[in-house]
């Protein structure tokens, strides 16, 4: 499907998958000296493309940036509690977008008359 809503859902689920990978990387490096946690932003590019009405044609790029939060021991700034909460939230957001996909495909199936 190549309608605008499908583009939005695709970009959202890609961005959320990337965020989950980055969170996993942050947690894996919780004790790595000199490591900086990274954060993912796909929402900014997506919402401005939606506002412009160009979501179907834009190449949406998520950004991964080093965080600037204070460092602790080992010169490492991973906050394990924050990353764990972010992992839970990202998982639910992924499930919600997945549910939106399922509902759209269900409607498509109904329209096609197949079950």
């Amino acid at each position: 499907m190549s309608d605008p809503v499908s583009f939005v859902l695709h970009d959202a689920i890609d961005g959320l998958a990337l965020r989950q990978r980055v969170i996993a990387d942050n947690i894996a490096n919780v004790d790595t000296p000199n490591f900086r946690a990274h954060s993912v932003d796909f929402e900014s590019a997506l919402s401005s493309a939606i506002d412009r009405g160009t979501v179907s044609t834009d190449q949406l790029q998520a950004t991964v940036e080093e965080t600037q939060t204070p460092v602790g021991a080992n010169n490492n700034n991973v906050d394990l509690r924050k990353e764990s909460i972010a992992a839970i939230q990202t998982q639910f957001q992924y499930q919600i977008v997945g549910r939106a996909f399922t509902d759209r495909f269900d409607r498509l199936s109904a329209a096609a008359g197949s079950f």
């Binding site: 509690r81 839970i88 549910r99």
Partner: protein
């Protein structure tokens, strides 16, 4: 209000109680830290909580204990002054242990909120599902 406020609010409680637990651990660890009378005593840290206007709790300040501490007669101590006194921190062990239980229970309660929030979101995902 965002869709995942309960998680963020529980996270603020986890953070605040973690700070409290760290402060108590430091206080108890230094309860026997003795200084000569010419120096200030170890100062206990007391965590102050405040409500975050956007929801949740935050640490609004860290108060310090009395630098005078308590003067204790301990003539055998190499740090003792000419009169045989040393300076001990003014920390009440019973109070610290009580606070330790409160901080731990508060942390556990916040963990339970995150679990309940997850159950709630899982239930919401089932609305209208076939």
């Amino acid at each position: 209000m965002g869709a995942f406020d309960a998680l963020g609010i529980a996270n603020s409680a986890l953070g605040a109680h973690q700070t409290w637990l760290d402060a108590i651990a430091d206080n108890i660890a230094n309860i026997n830290t003795v200084e000569p009378t010419s120096q200030t005593a170890f100062q206990a840290t007391y965590v102050q909580f405040g409500a975050d206007p956007n929801g949740g709790v935050e640490v609004t300040g860290l108060a310090k204990g009395d630098p005078q501490g308590r003067l204790v007669s301990d003539p055998g101590n190499p740090l003792a002054d000419a009169d045989g006194y040393v300076r001990q921190p003014d920390i009440d062990m019973a109070s610290e242990m009580g606070q330790l239980v409160m901080a731990q229970r508060g942390f556990q309660a916040a963990v339970q909120v995150t679990k309940t929030a997850q159950d709630t979101y899982t239930a919401a995902l089932q609305i209208g599902a076939r």
